[in-house]
């Protein structure tokens, strides 16, 4: 899961977005079936080739020529997404040991495991652009690359696990569904797979909240409290308002990004309103009302100053999240060294045998 906040739910439980993922997958197959134009005839044709492929909604593949800035933008974006999956394991992992039933424990453990899988899958997609996973992990640990700011908020109650599923995964899906049509092939394909799994996570989160909201008064209060705390940070996941977003225009032209931050945020709000009604919970926004003219909900913007503070490192959990990841990495160093030494010994034995 990941937003634009560094730097999405559907009908009642989320059918609409999954449909869009499937449509993107069909479009991807269709584009792959159409013959791409012939490879560039000469070096003078490189930029033309790139532009035509993007224009025709076909995919740029790892061995194609691409503008250096395009490559850098993609590396940054895919790496940030991968880091977000890995750091994002922490807030939810916080509740695995205390999950209130064995079934919920199993679902949550599997979900956090899925996120590790998404992280690995995305690091592999970034590696097709000519950078190694080890380098990217170092960039994260050194604080030179960011992860989604939403994970710098704490999970204080079990309902937060539900709220993360419903709102945070929901916002991530709204943000990611258009990426299933991204012009870079490996990223688009990764996003299709990830969006499908995220939509299950989103349903599971919604279901947790639904159960709480229809449970005891204490459980319902727990659910409302979680919505109160996660609503605005979730809106902030779409990033700064359009006027202040630094990477947007060029990314739109390259078809890496297809909708603006504000368009996606609006879409997210419009979807959540009905779902909150079914839950019987109140979105903590007195300004929320249907605007007939715009055919969309008017809503209160999140506090972008707070977003900037969290991005800069002063959110409630920035320090803990990074310390935790650095500690795991450092504590595991002797194990990774042992694995490398063991593999080296086995390879040397094999060589000796071949030589003999």
């Amino acid at each position: 899961m990941y937003g634009n906040d560094f730097g999405a739910p559907e009908e009642a439980s989320g059918g609409g977005l999954l449909g869009e993922v499937e449509a993107a997958e069909a479009a991807l197959r269709e584009a792959a079936a159409r013959q791409r134009r012939g490879l560039p005839a000469s070096d003078d044709d490189l930029a033309g080739f790139f532009a035509e492929i993007v224009e025709a909604d076909q995919k740029i593949e790892p061995r194609d020529w691409m503008p250096e800035a395009y490559r850098k933008t993609l590396i940054r974006q895919i790496a940030q997404h991968a880091h977000s999956e890995i750091i994002g394991m922490q807030p939810e992992g916080n509740w695995i040991s205390r999950a209130p039933s064995l079934k919920r424990k199993a679902i949550l453990l599997a979900k956090v495991q899925d996120e590790a899988g998404h992280g690995l899958y995305l690091y592999a997609a970034a590696e097709t652009l000519g950078i190694s996973r080890d380098e990217l992990v170092d960039l994260l640990l050194d604080g030179r690359q960011k992860y989604s700011s939403i994970f710098n908020y704490p999970t204080l109650t079990w309902a937060d696990v539900g709220a993360i599923g419903w709102l945070v995964d929901g916002a991530a899906i709204v943000n990611q569904v258009p990426l299933c049509r991204c012009s870079y092939g490996p990223y688009a394909r990764a996003m299709i797979r990830i969006c499908k799994e995220e939509s299950f996570h989103q349903r599971q989160g919604y279901e947790i909240l639904h159960t709480l909201a229809h449970g005891t008064p204490e459980q319902k209060a727990m659910a409302q409290d979680a919505l109160d705390r996660w609503w605005y940070p979730s809106l902030a996941m779409f990033g700064p308002p359009d006027g202040e977003s630094t990477h947007s225009t060029q990314s739109m032209a390259w078809k890496i990004k297809r909708f603006s931050n504000d368009e996606l945020r609006q879409r997210f709000v419009d979807m959540c309103v009905q779902q909150a009604e079914i839950l019987g919970l109140t979105i903590p926004d007195p300004g929320l009302r249907w605007n007939d003219e715009r055919q969309a909900y008017d809503y209160t913007q999140p506090d972008y100053d707070e977003l900037m503070r969290v991005i800069k490192g002063d959110g409630p959990c920035n320090r803990e999240r990074m310390a935790h990841r650095r500690r795991a990495h450092a504590d595991g160093a002797w194990v990774r060294e042992a694995a490398a030494a063991y593999a080296g010994k086995r390879a040397a034995e094999k060589k000796e045998k071949v030589a003999a």
Partner: protein
């Protein structure tokens, strides 16, 4: 031993407590791939625990389901072996625990798959495939660490020595049980000896043999583990989740 209820409870508690400990590694493993692998093994153990505890509840006939058994018993009522409740410590200790546990669970579930009780046989049949993978995974790591660097060798030997005394309890004879654990010892010894030898590790000496888990006499660690696992469930009596 009080019949099949007690037997299912022992196996279910072993799996549940093992799952709880393994899941503690989530977000902390030495490699991202290992984070996924340990979560997988934890999920397998949790899955087996749910089947076994559900069945135990049915055998008891007192209306207790898997959650009532997992969340509403105190440590003195748990029947798991001491091995699984020991803290994770470093990765070598975790792998020593997993090696010994899976080298015991694999022949146990394999024998269970052939037993007369159909429900237990079905559980054994499913779980033995998972145990084979757990054993494979733990064996590979014990070899890597034992025959890796000087430091990893030192840590792995210390871990094997530290955990070894808790193995004896697993094989306490119980002739009336659907599978008598004492009959599994020879296969366990053969498996473990082969792995330790290949890992260039010395097989620990037998001597001190702590036990008591099957009678509800645990280490000091279990009560803390349960306090964390049960806290939310117990804070809301009767609630559904």
């Amino acid at each position: 031993m009080n019949g099949p209820f007690e037997f299912a409870l022992r196996l279910g508690d072993d799996a549940l407590i093992a799952a709880q400990r393994l899941a503690e590694w989530t977000t902390r493993a030495p490699e991202m791939e290992e984070d996924i692998a340990l979560a997988n093994i934890a999920l397998d153990q949790l899955g087996a625990a749910r089947l076994l505890l559900t069945y135990a509840g049915e055998l008891e006939g007192a209306g207790r389901d898997e959650d009532a058994l997992a969340y509403l018993r105190d440590d003195r009522e748990f029947r798991n072996c001491l091995l699984v409740e020991l803290p994770n410590d470093d990765f070598a200790v975790t792998m020593a625990k997993l090696l010994f546990l899976s080298a015991y669970q694999l022949p146990l579930y394999t024998a269970l798959a052939e037993c007369a009780d159909e429900r237990l046989a079905a559980i054994g049949s499913k779980a033995r495939k998972e145990s084979a993978y757990h054993l494979d995974h733990a064996s590979l790591w014990v070899k890597r660490l034992g025959d890796g660097t000087e430091e990893s060798h030192r840590r792995m030997q210390a871990a094997a020595d530290q955990v070894w005394p808790y193995v004896a309890e697993l094989f306490t004879p119980d002739p009336g049980a659907p599978v008598d654990p004492a009959t599994l010892r020879a296969e366990f010894d053969a498996t473990v000896t082969a792995v330790l030898t290949e890992a260039t590790l010395a097989r620990p000496e037998s001597g001190w043999a702590p036990a008591g888990g099957r009678d509800g006499l645990h280490t000091e660690h279990l009560s803390y583990l349960l306090a964390e696992m049960q806290v939310l469930h117990r804070a809301h009596p009767g609630a559904k989740w």
